[in-house]
Each structure stands twice: as structure tokens, then as C-alpha cells.
């Protein structure tokens, strides 16, 4: 077990806690770069999906995991990014400009939601974002002159100058690049004053306010940033799927994104990536399990949704820290073997505390 001896406050703010961590991330980076050599097109495509979802996950993690604001409407920001990208591309705007534009449009929408959301908390906020997402979905379906309504828009292959991302591995590298950039950006943001303000906001609004955190400013910023990142993911998603229509951005997608960060592990960027991998791998795992058990493929969609819900239930009941929490426990178990004690990670129950205003 590696014990870090801290001798200065700067150490707490380092990007990597110690050299070992940096080493393992390096190994991971090399493995990711070599992935196209080892995997066939199908698995590489799935891995690309993991990257795209993880970008959206990082966005939602920033809002829900770090700033503590629930959003049941993130599909709207995903849609904003995807549609902006598709429409701009159809007008011949180069990708280098349309990608930031997609993020900017989504971020602007996020700010528009964030400002009224300032006065809302808890369930009111959740339902307000839900309402917002429904309205956006309806606009996408009805504003036919721009979005072509329920017919949807076909999205061309991505190209930067003469470089066309027509092969799976090319797009994979692009998605991976965006993911790494996003994760580094969010990680760096969290190391700054803004990041600490967001966490303070989550843990206690009143304490944060007393310490001089400008609630309105940081809440709005959290919504804007989160929406912007989700819009970025939306733009990539549009290119990956090559066809977008309003049905791809329903309330179920919002719930899926939320499940992603919860199952991954709230309050950790690892969680966003783990959650994305979980979401992408689950349907495959179900098909595989069915094959092993020899069950015929009737009602696939229903079984998928049921297993999805059941896993969500079991995670909340038995592993509320998500996949990342489980990973931390397993690692700790191995590090201190054989001195692991169950009580180390026991959940605190707070019966007397009420979140309701008295």
C-alpha cells in the first residue's frame, strides 16, 4: 500500500496524487491507443459509444455528482448539441467551428434553464428540468422547417479539411481525444476555486453561502458547463449514429444518463466512465446471458428495461457508491489484506435528519 506523505497544500491539488497513479494512467492511455489493433470493428464501435456517453456522463457528473443539482432533462442538451451539429454541417460549416457551436448552443440552453432553476431545489428542480426536456422534444418534432420533424436528419460522415473520419478507428481516436480533453478539463476545473465552490454548494448551500460562495453565479455556471459538455457529446453522437430524430432524445434517455452517473458512482469522474461502460455493455451482457441460459429472444426490449431497473435498484440498495465505490473497496481490500474490516465503508444512516423544511 502506497502511503502519500503530504507536506504541502499544493499536494492536495495535484492532478495525480503520486507517481504510481500517473504510471497507471499512462498504461491505460497506451492500452486505449492500441485498442483499434486488438478489437474488431464491432467492439471498437462499442468502445466509441463508451467514449461518447462518458463525455455526456462527465457533464452530468459535474452537475449532479459535484454540484448536487438533479436534472431529469439532460436529453434536451444532448439533442441541442446533436441537432446544432447536424444542421450546421448540412450548411457546410466545418467541424472545427460546428463542434464548439454545438457545445455553445447547449450551454446557452443550460444557462436558460439554470437561471430559473436558481430558486428551485430538490423535487421541484427535478420536475422543472423534466418539463423543459418534454418541451424541447416537442419543439424538435414540430419545428419542421429546421429539424425536419419526425423524419429526422441524416448526418454526413465527419470531415476535418481533407481528413475524413470514414473508418471506425479514426472516429474512435476522435471520440477518445474529446473524452480525454473533457475529463482533463473537468478534473482541472474541480481543482480550482470554482470546483470547490460547486462541491460546497452540494454539501450545504447555507454553509457555502456563509463562506462567500455566490450561489446564483455558481449554480448557473454548473448548469451551463454541464449542458455544454452534454452538447459536445450530442455532436459526436449525431456523427456516430449518422441519423437523428426526436425519438432518440426522450425522457428515457435523460433517465439513462442519470442512471449512468449513479451506477458509475456519484461524485467521481471515474464513475462517469464506468457508468458509460455499464450502459453500453448491459444490453450485450443480457443477450450473452440469454444465450448461455438458452432462453429464446422474445420481448428483448422488456427484459432489457427490467434488468436495467433491477440493477439500478440493487445498486442503490447495496452499493450506493456505484461501480467506482465497489472498485475502491476491492482495491482497499487487496491493499490491506488480510486486515480489511467491513465497518470501514459502512453507510451512515441519518434518521433524525429531514430534508424537508420545517
Amino acid at each position: 500500500m502506497h502511503v502519500v506523505r503530504k507536506t504541502s497544500y499544493d499536494q492536495d491539488m495535484r492532478l495525480f496524487a503520486h507517481r504510481g497513479v500517473a504510471f497507471w494512467y499512462g498504461v491505460l492511455a497506451i492500452a486505449a491507443l492500441l485498442a483499434p489493433l486488438a478489437l474488431n470493428t464491432y467492439y471498437l464501435s462499442q468502445l466509441t459509444f463508451v467514449c461518447v456517453y462518458a463525455v455526456a456522463g462527465a457533464g452530468l457528473m459535474l452537475l449532479t455528482g459535484y454540484a448536487g443539482q438533479v436534472s431529469l432533462g439532460h436529453a434536451a442538451f444532448l439533442a441541442a448539441g446533436a441537432y446544432t451539429e447536424a444542421i450546421l454541417q448540412a450548411h457546410g460549416i466545418p467541424f472545427v467551428l460546428s463542434l464548439p457551436a454545438a457545445a455553445a448552443v447547449a450551454a446557452a440552453l443550460g444557462l436558460a434553464v439554470g437561471i430559473p432553476a436558481l430558486r428551485l431545489t430538490g423535487i421541484y428542480l427535478a420536475v422543472a428540468t423534466l418539463a423543459f426536456a418534454f418541451i424541447v422534444e416537442e419543439i424538435l418534432a414540430r419545428w419542421e422547417s429546421v429539424t425536419r420533424g419526425n423524419f429526422g436528419i441524416a448526418v454526413d460522415t465527419l470531415a476535418i479539411g481533407s481528413l475524413r473520419f470514414d473508418a471506425e478507428w479514426k472516429f474512435f481516436y476522435l471520440a477518445l481525444g474529446v473524452l480525454v480533453a473533457t475529463l482533463l478539463a473537468v478534473r482541472n476545473l474541480l481543482r480550482t476555486k470554482t470546483g470547490r465552490a460547486l462541491v460546497a454548494l452540494r454539501d450545504s448551500t447555507i454553509a457555502a453561502q456563509s463562506l462567500g460562495v455566490h450561489l446564483a453565479w455558481y449554480k448557473t455556471a454548473a448548469f451551463g458547463l454541464s449542458a455544454g459538455l452534454t452538447g459536445l457529446a450530442g455532436a459526436l453522437y449525431a456523427h456516430k449514429i449518422a441519423f437523428i430524430s426526436p425519438e432518440q432524445f426522450t425522457i428515457m434517455v435523460s433517465v439513462e444518463l442519470l442512471v449512468m452517473v449513479v451506477v458509475g458512482g456519484l461524485g467521481s469522474l471515474h464513475g462517469a466512465v464506468f457508468g458509460a461502460a455499464f450502459i453500453v455493455a448491459l444490453p450485450q451482457a443480457i443477450v450473452f446471458a440469454k444465450g448461455v441460459l438458452g432462453i429464446s429472444g422474445s420481448g428483448q426490449a422488456a427484459v432489457d428495461a427490467g434488468v436495467f431497473g433491477l440493477l439500478l435498484l440493487l445498486f442503490m440498495l447495496y452499493e450506493p457508491q456505484g461501480l467506482y465505490g465497489r472498485w475502491v473497496k476491492v482495491r482497499y481490500y487487496l491493499e490491506v489484506f488480510p486486515f480489511y474490516r467491513r465497518a470501514t465503508f459502512r453507510r451512515q444512516k441519518t434518521y433524525a435528519r429531514t430534508e424537508r423544511l420545517q
Partner: protein, 295 residues
């Protein structure tokens, strides 16, 4: 004159739909008040209630007036069990965890219902004594289904009011909803009360489901109507029973009027637009108390 009749007709049918929203919203609010759990699976409880009604009445051929109470009692049992098995282990965790648990419950219920052989993913219909009959009140026309929905809602609300006001259990529930810890200290079995409230709420949902069945047909996704009842509960101020009823009626009427007077597409979002407008002005909902957090 004709315009006025048209308007009243829309208000009438909107109110009937609004009563269904109100009943589901009532279920949300009951659970929230007593246990501080926001139950995102309320719409699915209604769906299960409707399916049980369909099973008893259409599949087993029981008379309506026997099938209805049977379905309601079964749902009450299921509600109590859900509280005991799924919700209780998570009491004391943050609200967010509980929201996710109930969302998961909704997924499982929907998928479970579509996997039951006789239920499946098809739509079903069952006959109630009100089906196909129409009454006219002056120039207005209302189907018996709509009248039944409105009457039942009114009766149910009155009964619940009397129950909370005058019975021992009702008062105990009120006490538990005001302060669980204090309720424990004066000897109220708060755990039992929680299960009871879940049962009550599931029973109300079952009534709503069976009343709604002739209007929208029974199918595994009918629980999505709960997503409309949510704005209703929030509009009224989450945690206020009169608020839930008023919110449901407002949403129902607004939706019906928007569907009639505004271009296509506005009907589905009218509820949400109204909700956002109200929340922008009154963040605590129409009937919610404007409390501020104290340290």
C-alpha cells in the same frame, strides 16, 4: 353561445382527465408527506392496478363490483410490501437515492407487466358498467366514464379528508408526517404507518387505473401518465393534498383547452409550460408553504 358551449365542453372533459391526474398526484403527495419519499413509480402502480382489474374482471369473469375492490385490496398489499422490501432499507439515505430506487421500481414494474403471459405488450380493454353510455347536462355531453371518474374522485377525497381528520390512524399518519422522531417518542408505530401509507397510496392508484382503463385502454406503458401527474403535484405544491387536486384539475383543463384551441402539438406540452410558468413565479407551487431553510 356556441363558443361558450364548446368551451364548457372542453372544460368538462378536461376536468375528467384532470381528476385522474389528481388521483395519481394524490398518491405522490400521500407518500411524500408521510415518508418523505418521492415515488416516481406511482404511474406504474396505477398501471398494475388497471392490469389487476383487467385480470379479475375480464380474464376471471368476476362482476365489476367484486373485481374492483379485489384489485384495490391486492394493490394495497403490493404497496405495503414494496415499502417493506424495497423502500425501508433505504430510509435515511439522501432523497436522490430514493428517487433512483423508485425509478428502478418503475422500470421493473413495466417490464414485469409486459412479461406476464396474459398481459403482454398488447392493449386490452375491459367493460365497466359505465362503458358506452352518455349523459347530457343541458347542451353539454359527458360519458358515464367521465362522470364516474369525477364522482369517485370527489368521494375519495371526502373520505380521505374524514379519515385524516377523525380516525386514530389518520391522526397518527398526520403526526408521523409532521415529525417522525417525535411520533416515535409518543408511541406511534412509524414503520407500520409508512407501510400503511404506501398501501393507501397504491390503493388510490388502483382506483385511478381502473377508472382510466376505459378511456385510454390498459397497456404496459400507461404508467407514463404519471409523468403528467408529477407536474400536477408540483404545481399544487408538493406535500399539499388540496394542492394536488387543484393541480391535477388545472393541468387537465389546460391540456384539454390547448388541444382544442391551439395548433397540434401544444396539447402535450401545455402541462409543462404551465408548470414552468407557475414555478418561475412561485417556486414552492401554488399551495406550498414558502418556507426557508434555517440553520
Amino acid at each position: 353561445m356556441r363558443a361558450f358551449v364548446e368551451f364548457s365542453q372542453q372544460v368538462l372533459s378536461g376536468a375528467a382527465l384532470g381528476c385522474i391526474y389528481a388521483l395519481i398526484a394524490l398518491g405522490f403527495v400521500l407518500i411524500y408527506k408521510a415518508t418523505e419519499v418521492v415515488n416516481f413509480a406511482q404511474g406504474e402502480l396505477m398501471m398494475l392496478g388497471a392490469f389487476l382489474g383487467y385480470t379479475f374482471i375480464s380474464l376471471f369473469g368476476l362482476p365489476f363490483w367484486l373485481g374492483l375492490p379485489l384489485a384495490v385490496v391486492c394493490m394495497a398489499g403490493i404497496g405495503g410490501l414494496l415499502d417493506r422490501i424495497v423502500v425501508r432499507p433505504i430510509v435515511g439515505q439522501p432523497v436522490f437515492a430514493i428517487i433512483m430506487v423508485t425509478l428502478g421500481m418503475g422500470f421493473v414494474a413495466r417490464s414485469g407487466a409486459s412479461l406476464v403471459p396474459a398481459w403482454g405488450v398488447d392493449t386490452h380493454v375491459f367493460a365497466t358498467p359505465f362503458t358506452g353510455k352518455v349523459a347530457s347536462i343541458g347542451p353539454l355531453v359527458a360519458s358515464h366514464d367521465q362522470l364516474a371518474i369525477m364522482t369517485t374522485t370527489a368521494v375519495l377525497v371526502a373520505v380521505l379528508f374524514l379519515f385524516f381528520r377523525y380516525t386514530r390512524i389518520g391522526i397518527a399518519i398526520q403526526a408521523a408526517s409532521q415529525n417522525q422522531l417525535a411520533a416515535y417518542y409518543v408511541g406511534i408505530p412509524v414503520k407500520t404507518i409508512c407501510s400503511l401509507v404506501w398501501g393507501l397510496s397504491a390503493a388510490v392508484a388502483a382506483v385511478a387505473g381502473i377508472l382510466l382503463a376505459p378511456v385510454v385502454l390498459v397497456h404496459a406503458n400507461m404508467g407514463f401518465i404519471g409523468l403528467k401527474a408529477f407536474p400536477a403535484a408540483v404545481l399544487g405544491g408538493f406535500g399539499s393534498i388540496p394542492g394536488a387536486i387543484a393541480g391535477g384539475l388545472i393541468i387537465g383543463v389546460v391540456e384539454s383547452l390547448a388541444g382544442f384551441y391551439l395548433p397540434e402539438g401544444f396539447k402535450d406540452v401545455a402541462a409543462y409550460v404551465v408548470l414552468l410558468l407557475v414555478l418561475a413565479i412561485r417556486p414552492q407551487g401554488l399551495f406550498g408553504e414558502g418556507l426557508r431553510k434555517k440553520v
